[in-house]
Symmetry: C2
Subunit: 186 residues, 2 copies
């Protein structure tokens, strides 16, 4: 058994809107906090925010600094430990290069969607890969999900989270938490 090396990417471009058009979504404060806290709880190696929008980079940097170095770090040290995981990238290939540099190996890129009818990997298979030491980058989309070109370029498509109903509209924050629990809980 090894320490799993799971990285998480939250993609804001290219993602779909309600009408399946490709857009850049806005970074939200709560996506940063909720997913960083879950990532820290489950021992995730890095939480990668992907957006090409310069203003959004400034926003994320200033939020991160507040909690990691500023007043927030003393007000709530637990948030510091979570927000320290946040890294910023212009696009997904840049995130992959960054992870390859830090881990010494290119990560296997696994994309997620609530809509895959043709997934290539189950949760239990991915859990096995992780616990055998494979470096994984799990990619989540904001908005109405990852754009097709982002899905097509990945190594694997993870099976959707299957609730017991035919309704499947979890927030990306809930989906991230459930995925981490399924892949990394002891």
């Amino acid at each position: 058994m090894v320490n799993p090396k799971l990285h998480l990417a939250l993609v804001h471009y290219p993602v779909l809107d309600k009408n399946d058009a490709t857009i850049a979504s806005a970074v939200t404060n709560l996506d940063l906090h909720d997913i960083a806290r879950a990532a820290r709880t489950y021992g995730v190696s890095g939480y990668h925010i992907v957006t090409p929008v310069a203003d959004q980079h400034e926003l994320v940097s200033s939020l991160r600094s507040h909690w990691v170095e500023g007043h927030g770090a003393t007000y709530n040290p637990k948030r510091r430990q979570a927000l320290e995981l946040v890294e910023l990238h212009e696009n997904l290939p840049a995130a992959i290069v960054g992870i390859e540099r830090s881990e010494g190996v290119r990560p296997r890129v696994v994309v997620t969607s609530a809509r895959f009818a043709d997934s290539s990997l189950s949760f239990s298979q991915l859990r096995r890969h992780l616990h055998r030491g494979q470096v994984i980058l799990l990619v989540l989309g904001t908005g109405w999900g990852l754009a097709p070109e982002c899905v097509a370029s990945a190594d694997d498509r993870l099976e959707p989270i299957d609730g017991p109903t035919d309704y499947n509209h979890l927030s990306v924050r809930s989906a991230a938490a459930i995925m981490l629990d399924r892949l990394l809980a002891t």
Copy 2:
């Protein structure tokens, strides 16, 4: 096998603040949406918002109406299906009475915390109770968690969510999603 009857309560009073003082926390828009969407995905029977603050009842009612009957219902019908689960109560005993009225039996009240050292119920035990047909009310606290009197009055204390690290500071939204997955996933 029966259809599990799980109700969820999100308590805003009495809960603790950072310094373990008892407070009434504010209802947030995202607690409503994220947890309602997860509840709907996992077939939860009711999502009970508990707060004694009259202003907050007005806020929740108007949000619920927007998505269930107003413009939101046509803009995004999926949100209607989720927000329909929301019910409002002055306090936890009122929520229990309401559930007893609709289900014909008093629910077993199970409280949650990230800090229980003396839990009385594991996830697998609770899952078994649910799938055998016992009506359960799972109670989550906002802020820094449920006040002691709320914990003391419950039938059971659920084991904390155990990540693989010693950090355990999930948002209540993430915790709710993980609990529903552990208890109700197929």
